[in-house]
């Protein structure tokens, strides 16, 4: 789903505390519109209010999984933040939110 959105002129920025090797491979295979960014000290995660302290599998700080759709002015138009481990955003909801902007 996200690769299709990248093709449609939408920029995807995927942020996590690490850029691991798998992200690196994926980034090279995908077009430039899909970038994996590293937020090593979780500064940006905190700026977004998404810090889940000690939530990682080894007790490390991690971001709460979240998807935010911004329009061309940088305004938040749709967002989903997981408040429960079990939940993941529905890709069709994200795609619908993006298409509503364009």
């Amino acid at each position: 789903m996200l690769t299709e959105l990248g093709d449609e002129g939408v920029q995807i920025l995927a942020i996590s505390p690490d850029t691991n090797e798998r992200s690196q491979e994926l980034a090279e295979r995908l077009k430039a519109r899909y970038r994996f960014l590293a937020d090593r000290d979780l500064t940006v995660t905190q700026r977004y209010g998404l810090l889940h302290a000690r939530g990682g599998d080894k007790g490390q700080d991690v971001p709460a999984p979240a998807t935010i759709v911004l329009d061309r002015e940088g305004i938040v138009r749709w967002l989903t933040v997981a408040d429960n481990y079990q939940v993941r955003p529905d890709p069709t909801d994200v795609a619908r939110a993006v298409r509503a902007i364009k």
Partner: protein
């Protein structure tokens, strides 16, 4: 056998909720509404409770014990253990997202504000391990 029908139904509902949740985990509606299984356990417990009040015999008691135990465990897991504690929300629909500059996989800095006037942006935060 039919006088223990409610007890059997209660047990079937409890087990069905567990099996159904894990079987249909790939279906977003099921996965994203885990309180559904808690609701199923609550319904199973209610049915077993009514049956037990009417006839406090061991099959009804077993059904009640099972459903109450699952309700307790499921409720605790879903509403306590699985919770992600976050501070006050910063992001709001209709507000600008905070700007940032972060390195991509090649080390090139990427600034969110650079996409203004160009394309919509989808920002995804994820844990980073698989």
């Amino acid at each position: 056998m039919s006088k223990y029908g409610p007890a059997l139904f209660s047990v079937a509902l409890s087990i069905g909720a567990i099996v159904g949740y894990f079987s249909f985990l790939r279906v977003p509606f099921i996965r994203n509404h885990p309180p559904l299984y808690v609701a199923a356990f609550a319904l199973a417990a209610a049915i077993a409770a009514v049956a037990t009040v009417r006839a406090p015999r061991w099959p009804n008691l077993i059904a009640l014990a099972l459903s109450v135990a699952l309700l307790g465990l499921g409720g605790y897991f879903n509403f306590v253990m699985a919770r992600i504690p976050l501070g006050p929300p910063i992001l709001r629909v209709g507000q600008p997202a905070p700007d940032f500059t972060l390195p991509d996989a090649k080390g090139t800095p990427v600034t969110l504000a650079s996409f203004r006037g160009r394309t919509p942006v989808v920002v995804v935060f994820y844990r980073g391990y698989w």
